[in-house]
Symmetry: C2
Subunit: 320 residues, 2 copies
């Protein structure tokens, strides 16, 4: 499969024009003073479906150029990609079949069903893979991977392209890394616009795998995946490994208590709701990472899909 | 005291340029479908100090044109105006003296003190009035009223002016009413730009006073003031009564459970944190008020200052 390029991101932006929200960029004196830097937050939590994932899903599905609307779109996701695919299919008049492995957030399940998707709940990711395989054979459907797909990567890159159109003079860009789709798109877009921008991956200490995979240039699983940032528990794919290995400046590793703290600060100071995966990219700002000092720092706030009561439970816990 | 005019709002905008945040306007397919209207949210919860109040306070303090920076600025507020005055004074190099009547939110107290203001806590509003009087005599300070001041009103009007600059074709504007400072400024700005815009006041059923005061053209107290929207418990002033009586199209009365519901929906669907007073202006959208059907509706989201744990407590309560 071809690796995505900057020109794919530009093309994706044309396709997504008028479909995606052009999300606002927020600034905060508080964040600037905490970090001794100028901080700009690209708020993809305000994107349709509440996360950047809609960009990649919509773009990839458009690029399939299906002649027959009876061909279903199949994906495997319990997270924001599921919602992105479900809404994109509804907008395209296509049937979405979403295989959701446990744990399944009832809030996300309801949203996906609300978009008219057919949902298959499975116990494990392995079981999910098998079900996807069977569904592909049975339905002749088309699979849209959550991140290891050049069209998905290009779609996610449009968030950064938009960011740099409104804020062309960023020195540094921070984004969380899970499968690496958003971050790969960010790298392509940022270095297409300005090769001097330093792009950092933010990874939870309890789901460290991207950092080692890139060091060894071989995809490896994390030693543990019990981070609260559920969207970042996955490993890289071959496409994202290739792109990230070429473009990344470095990593910031983030502890669990920092994730919760960043979510709280987003609520109390910034008045925005961010999910734990997003908080992972805000945490290095709050601890005043030395690489950020004096710089103009863009942070991609990836999503805001967290159940209200779960959010309250997490914020109350003394252990964080 | 002179009533504020549209040209005062224009002048205020010049003074506030580069000082206030130009806050983003959010849209939501969910809100559009709930209301059968096109909804635009002017997010003053992202304003400095977390509320529109910074606009009026900064403008009024600038317009005092104090030659002696030793003259303190005095105000009476336990809410967002206190923070607005405290930050404005810090930026002007002036001393703020804030008299705060109970109940005092520790979060807001800390914020005010963090801006370097001197705080006097008092048990009642009556006691606060007396203390303000004494402080004025002792210090020769200048008082900045929270809403019944033409410069404050003009400053608040800049939120609407900015809103209409980015969204000139609004048919309807909704804002909450407490003392009426924001709403008066909104009326002046909206009708200065386009006299056809219909401006509605949103008032809690548990703090109804503005609606009766305007009907009788005489300021009257609310029958009860136990609404959760603490910022809206106050009565109008003579300036705001005059302006609102001339400009308002009508009122939407909002129940307590609707306020809580709107806060929850802001969190879950819009990914923004809004305080109860702001939720009062969102509630008529959520219940699909007939006057809004098919219209382009602007809602001023006034602020986002709510303590996280208090927010969680309120959202958990089964009674709402």
């Amino acid at each position: 499969m071809a690796v995505a390029t900057y020109s794919d991101v530009l093309q994706a932006q044309n396709i997504l024009k008028g479909v995606v929200h052009c999300t606002p960029v927020l600034t905060s004196h508080y964040l600037n003073s905490q970090s001794n830097a100028k901080i700009f937050l690209k708020c993809e939590n305000f994107q349709r479906v509440g996360a950047f994932k809609f960009r990649g899903a919509y773009h990839a599905i458009t690029r399939l150029e299906l002649s027959d609307t009876k061909i279903p779109i199949i994906t495997l996701s319990s997270g924001n990609h599921a919602q992105g695919v479900a809404l994109s299919c509804r907008l395209h008049g296509l049937q979405a079949i979403i295989v959701m492995p446990e744990p399944i957030n009832p809030f996300k399940l309801a949203a996906v069903q609300g978009y008219g998707a057919t949902v298959h709940q499975v116990a494990t990711r392995g079981e999910g893979d098998r079900m996807v395989h069977n569904l592909m054979v049975q339905t002749n459907g088309r699979f849209v991977h959550a991140f290891n797909d050049p069209h998905v990567i290009a779609g996610q890159g449009t968030a950064t392209l938009e960011f740099l159109e409104s804020h062309p003079d960023l020195d540094v860009l921070l984004a969380p890394v899970g499968g690496g789709g958003l971050l790969s798109g960010a790298c392509l877009a940022a270095h297409g616009v300005n090769p001097a921008i330093k792009v950092y991956a933010c990874e939870p200490a309890l789901a460290l795998d991207a950092i080692y995979s890139i060091q060894k240039n071989r995809i490896g699983p994390p030693s543990r995946t019990d981070t609260i940032a559920e969207g970042l528990r996955t490993t890289l794919g071959d496409l994202t490994l290739t792109i990230l290995g070429k473009h990344l400046e470095g990593f910031f590793i983030v502890e669990e208590h920092e994730i919760v703290q960043a979510m709280k600060i987003a609520f109390e100071r910034l008045k925005i709701v961010i999910e734990p995966s997003s908080a992972v990219a805000l945490a290095p700002v709050l601890r005043g990472e030395s690489a950020l000092q004096g710089k103009r720092v863009g942070v991609i706030v990836t999503g805001g899909n967290i159940d209200l009561l779960h959010f309250c439970d997490v914020c109350r816990k003394e252990t964080y």
